[in-house]
């Protein structure tokens, strides 16, 4: 049987830290309705599939238990999914003023 992830793979796990009913009183309603969730990365201790409850060892050598969500997790943020042309205009505007072309 083949597994999504092998022992020793670098993975990310997910865990519910507090269920909605366990959350503290001093937070807005919309936050109280949702759980407090956590994600941590580390080395997988045993072969497993995505969705399995697993244990990992983090780089700070802690053992943490949770649901396996990703193997070799990547960073996906960027300089934006759409360009913001207004910023080009800002640059042009200030340069024109400083260089005396704004009249």
């Amino acid at each position: 049987m083949s597994f999504d992830a092998k022992k020793g793979d670098w993975v990310q796990i997910h865990k519910i830290v507090l269920k909605p009913e366990e959350r503290t009183a001093k937070i807005p309603e919309e936050t109280k309705k949702v759980p407090l969730e956590m994600w941590v990365k580390g080395y997988l201790k045993e072969d497993a599939n995505i969705g399995d409850t697993v244990e990992i060892v983090t780089v700070a050598k802690r053992t943490v238990k949770g649901e396996l969500v990703e193997v070799n997790p990547v960073y996906t943020y960027s300089f934006g999914e759409e360009f913001v042309p207004e910023l080009v205009k800002v640059g042009e505007m200030v340069k024109n003023i400083v260089r005396g072309d704004d009249n």
Binding site: M38, V59, A60, R62, F79, I97
Partner: protein, 447 residues
């Protein structure tokens, strides 16, 4: 013995965990029911300013360049009455190892951790401080855990915080990422208790003492470069440590006539612990959501008594709008050839506005820059804002409503000073709320 790690049990052990993780007995400084000896707490760090500078130089921290922003000053003068338009200088704190002034704070925590024999450090932060702690821990061969508030309940992460996560991990730290909520403190305490690492708090006396070198350097560099001390030093204000440390450093350098102004992005109306509001703000720090509550009540951080007490040192508090900061960030790039920001540019924006009211021979120093890049850049933030239903447009910044729109000024002359009423700030806490809080603490009921 199996430890009870339930929420209530861990929170119940809070004082014991924090004392073990700081080696500071905060009770020693309590002088009465309400008062505590702040100066003695700061003095007991045992470090002179010269010690701090030596420790920081040893790990590549501090001694950053002070740069004159000639084109931005020129822009100010073009849009100001004749004779107005102070010279603007900036302290390029991006030159610190991890790219922000936070290295000054982290360098002291990591030094103390090593000295006291801790194997690692833990910090609760979603900001540049995480990268700074990770960097300083790496230099000192310490393990590092950063606990971060990062996602909303859809697992949508603020791009700036995602970049901080990457940076911390790439510097060798474990990053615990959480959804929105103050119960982050619970995970933080568990990590401290499990590892016996040092609490590298942003608000420890060591961390704040570490910023004093910044104020000191500004005074010395101004004397050297300009032949006088600056009239105003503008500081981005969130938790208050940046302003407190800088002001103390200026005083220690003898620059007692220099005014210290705080600046924050106006995010009024957005709740900091709201799962919905979390991704409706384009700034993750340096805003009023932290700035205002920490000014009036500094002691709600991760230590019993915060060493960041900005209200003691702040001469004025300036508010800027999100759209104005993006405008100035772009102007800094295209006029000065410097890509920096975002939080550092909050004070630059306030300085730009204030410079218009000051005389040409006056000096205003913007006290920090920070590194920028994917996730942190205005392109990333404004694109993310649009995706989250925030309208981004040119217009009058006065009409900006946090969480609804971001208004880029149609012209730089629309960027104006907004002085926050300091008396009101002091009054809110020092009179009515403060007295009520004190009476409650003493168990006195007032009808």
């Amino acid at each position: 013995m199996v430890r009870d790690n339930s929420y209530d049990a861990v929170m119940g052990r809070k004082d014991e965990i924090i004392t073990n993780a700081t080696k500071i007995n905060y009770g020693d400084y309590e002088t009465g029911k309400l008062s505590f000896d702040y100066e003695r707490m700061m003095k007991d760090t045992g470090f002179s300013l010269q010690d701090i500078i030596r420790i920081q130089r040893n790990v590549g921290v501090g001694n950053t360049p002070l740069l004159e922003l000639r084109n931005l000053t020129k822009l100010v003068r073009k849009i100001s009455p004749k004779g107005k338009g102070a010279r603007i200088f900036v302290k390029d704190e991006q030159c610190n190892p991890s790219g922000s002034f936070k290295d000054r704070r982290a360098s002291m925590s990591a030094y103390i951790a090593k000295k006291l024999g801790y194997k690692g450090v833990v910090a609760a932060t979603s900001g540049n401080y995480g990268a700074a702690v990770a960097s300083q821990a790496a230099i000192r061969n310490l393990d590092c855990i950063i606990v971060q508030e990062c996602y909303d309940s859809r697992k949508v992460g603020q791009p700036e915080i995602l970049e901080k996560q990457r940076k911390c991990e790439c510097l060798g730290a474990e990053v615990v990422q959480l959804t929105v909520g103050p119960e982050l403190f619970y995970e933080f305490l568990k990590a401290l208790e499990e590892t016996n690492f040092l609490n590298a708090s942003l608000y420890s006396p060591y961390g704040i003492a570490g910023v004093e070198s910044l104020g000191y350097e500004i005074a010395m560099q101004c004397r050297d470069m300009i032949g006088k001390e600056p009239e105003v030093v503008m500081v981005t204000n969130a938790g208050g440590g940046n302003l407190t440390g800088t002001a103390r450093g200026l005083i220690k350098a003898g620059a007692v006539d220099t005014k210290v102004y705080g600046a924050s992005v106006d995010l009024s109306g957005l709740h900091m612990a709201s799962d919905i509001d979390f991704n409706r703000k384009a700034f993750t720090t340096g805003h009023t959501g932290f700035g205002v509550p920490y000014l009036t009540d500094p002691d709600h951080s991760d230590v019993p008594r915060s060493a960041a007490r900005a209200l003691r040192y702040m001469d004025q508090y300036q508010l800027v709008k999100q759209g104005e900061v993006f405008f100035i960030t772009e102007a800094l790039a295209e006029l000065e050839g410097m890509e920096r920001g975002p939080a550092g540019n909050t004070s630059l924006t306030a300085a730009f506005a204030l410079a218009r009211e000051m005389d040409e021979d006056q000096i205003i120093v913007v006290q920090e820059t920070e590194y920028t890049g994917a996730g942190k850049h205005p392109l990333a933030q404004l694109s993310f804002a649009r995706q989250n239903g925030i309208e981004v447009k040119f217009g009058n910044p006065e009409e900006e409503v946090p969480g609804k729109n971001i208004i880029l000024p149609e012209h730089p002359s629309m960027i104006k000073s907004r002085h926050f009423d300091m008396d009101k700030l002091k009054e809110t806490k020092s009179n009515v709320e403060f007295v009520e809080g004190v009476l409650k603490e003493l168990g006195v009921t007032v009808k």
